[in-house]
């Protein structure tokens, strides 16, 4: 398996404020991103996600450790030849239209002529901006701007696409569009590295995930590897039963027709079910729940905090 991005023992701190106070943005991060996978970097605000991505893109120089892209040090310009990048809350040249913007970014890769025009037109169509292609970016909505940003990240048809919070500020439709686009990139064989704090999307999209908190890597692996396979709780939807009978059963929702209860162990589940049936009640559903990425996220962040 070809390694596309490699971070080894990376650390970075900044000096902030009048007294030049030292802030450790990244303390210890090691991970690799393999060719063709969708790799997510998750963590709460201030976890070091953006700084890590900026070290990969060469905007920030690591204080310690090595960062390599396609086997080349991220400090070298060559490492960015086969890379596309969408920053968090991107701001583009508002005086340009989407077509002009793509032309401009293409020229930065040394592209030009008909090949560039063709590529720009393809991308405009792909991100659904055909109607607005010749409108200045200052008249774009947030979602349209984000799509234009994704188009610029793909102008050079890169093997590695880095997206920093690509779904931030988008409505559910916009989020779905971005998710579909990321799946499309994987189908083309591209490697996608993206940072997000929308955990449901990360869980649905990513092949592997790195969990960062306070600049430290808390875990890396597939969602299945990070979460345990064991069921952690059960949801029971029942009716015709006194919910106060068992102290350990938590009532999640109560209506005239039924009650939604939550218990932790199989023994508790069986005991409640037996009691419901013996009291002449009805069991409408039993749903087992496994540990989610959100559970991992909350557990790791709480443990360190």
């Amino acid at each position: 398996m070809t390694v596309i991005v490699e971070l080894k023992d990376v650390a970075k701190s900044f000096r902030v404020g009048f007294r030049r106070r030292r802030v450790d943005a990244v303390r210890q991060v090691d991970f690799t991103v393999n060719e063709g996978e969708i790799f997510g970097v998750i963590g709460p605000n201030g976890a070091g996600k953006t700084t890590t991505i900026k070290m990969i893109t060469g905007l920030v120089t690591p204080e310690r450790g090595t960062v390599k892209v396609h086997g080349i040090s991220a400090s070298e310009v060559r490492s960015r030849e086969d890379m596309g990048y969408l920053p968090e809350n991107p701001y583009f040249y508002e005086h340009l239209t989407a077509r002009e913007m793509l032309r401009f970014y293409g020229q930065l890769f040394g592209m030009g002529g008909k090949a560039l025009e063709k590529r720009a037109a393809e991308l405009i169509e792909r991100v659904g901006l055909t109607e607005a292609a010749d409108r200045p970016l200052k008249r774009y909505s947030k979602g349209m701007r984000q799509r234009a940003g994704i188009a610029q990240a793909l102008i050079n048809d890169p093997r590695l696409v880095i997206l920093d919070e690509p779904q931030s500020g988008l409505d559910p439709v916009g989020r779905k569009e971005v998710r579909d686009l990321i799946f499309g990139l994987r189908e083309e064989g591209k490697t996608v590295l993206f940072a997000s704090h929308i955990l449901s999307d990360v869980e649905a999209i990513c092949d592997r995930v790195a969990v960062l908190h306070l600049g430290v890597l808390r875990g890396v692996g597939s969602v299945q590897e990070l979460t345990s396979d064991a069921t952690t709780r059960y949801e029971l939807r029942v009716s015709g039963f006194d919910t106060k009978a068992f102290e350990y059963a938590r009532t999640l929702r109560e209506s005239v027709e039924d009650v939604l209860l939550e218990v932790d162990t199989p023994a508790q589940r069986d005991e409640v079910l037996k009691a419901v049936l013996s009291a002449g009640g009805t069991v409408q559903s039993v749903t087992p729940h496994k540990e989610s990425l959100e559970d991992i996220f909350m557990r790791e962040t709480k443990a360190v905090s």
Binding site: L59, P87, Y91, F92, Y93, L96, F104, Y105, L108, G110
Partner: protein, 261 residues
């Protein structure tokens, strides 16, 4: 070669286009009437000297206007890339930081060419209206005005690479004022020779660092139509190129060491 020059040209053209679309040259709408009005007013106050006054006033106003536009454009076009974070999408492309600096500089210089050309056109019309002749000295004065603008642009970009827009603008304006008064430094040096001889080292150091805008200002020569030898223009161009080169190298060094957080 394409991989080196195409990105530089793209950044330069984008900066120039940004300046035009942001209507930076719209201020010419104020410049032209102000120039003609001032020339008429001062011309009437100086009997039979209208053309001379028009030439002097035109060059002075062109210098003020050109410097204001160059400083504003250099700082906004350069600093805005950092403040608005458009630089993130630039420097994550396969371009070096020196290509970025040179591209930005060329873009602002293209704007300076336009500003100087328009100023010359408006000034020539103003002198012609006052009954004066458009002399070669007047043309050379605008060439050296352009050289002053190239230097001031490089200084503004250097300062904008590490300080705020406001501070960069104020310091650049101060450097222009001090550099335009270099003969006053010579006077100060002579007068302090007896009382504070050590001060000459400080004055010499300041003179060495400050650009000599006074030598590039041909206002007296234009007013009295003194012939300018070509070798003077050659020497002035060499001086400006050297100063700009050193300043841009300093800007590149600062920007190369900077993290974009």
């Amino acid at each position: 070669m394409n991989r080196i020059w195409r990105p530089i040209l793209a950044i330069a053209v984008n900066s120039y286009r940004e300046a035009l679309r942001n209507k930076m040259l719209g201020t010419f709408g104020l410049f032209a009437p102000a120039l003609v009005g001032m020339s008429i007013l001062l011309g009437q106050m100086s009997v039979n000297q209208e053309a001379r006054v028009a030439r002097d006033m035109s060059l002075w106003m062109s210098t003020m206007f050109g410097v204001a536009i160059a400083v504003y454009a250099a700082i906004t076009l350069f600093h805005a890339e950092i403040e608005r974070r458009t630089i993130y999408t630039l420097l994550t492309k396969p371009i070096t930081r020196w290509q970025f600096v040179i591209g930005k500089y060329v873009g602002v210089t293209m704007l300076c060419v336009t500003v100087t050309a328009v100023c010359f056109g408006v000034s020539a019309a103003n002198v012609a209206i006052a009954g004066g002749e458009i002399t070669s000295t007047m043309g050379f004065a605008y060439v050296t005005l352009f050289l002053q603008l190239t230097i001031i642009t490089s200084i503004a970009m250097l300062l904008a690479s590490f300080s705020s827009s406001l501070l960069s603008g104020l310091v650049t304006a101060g450097v222009f004022a001090a550099g335009s008064l270099s003969s006053q430094l010579d006077v100060a040096r002579s007068s302090l020779r007896e009382t504070a001889p050590q001060a000459r080292y400080l004055i010499d150091a300041v003179k060495l660092v400050l650009p000599d805008f006074q030598s590039l200002n041909l206002s007296t020569e234009t007013t009295y139509d003194v012939t300018i030898p070509l070798h003077y223009i050659g020497a002035a161009s060499w001086y400006a190129a050297s100063y700009v080169g050193l300043t841009l190298i300093a800007t590149i060094v600062i920007l190369s060491r900077r993290d974009f957080t």
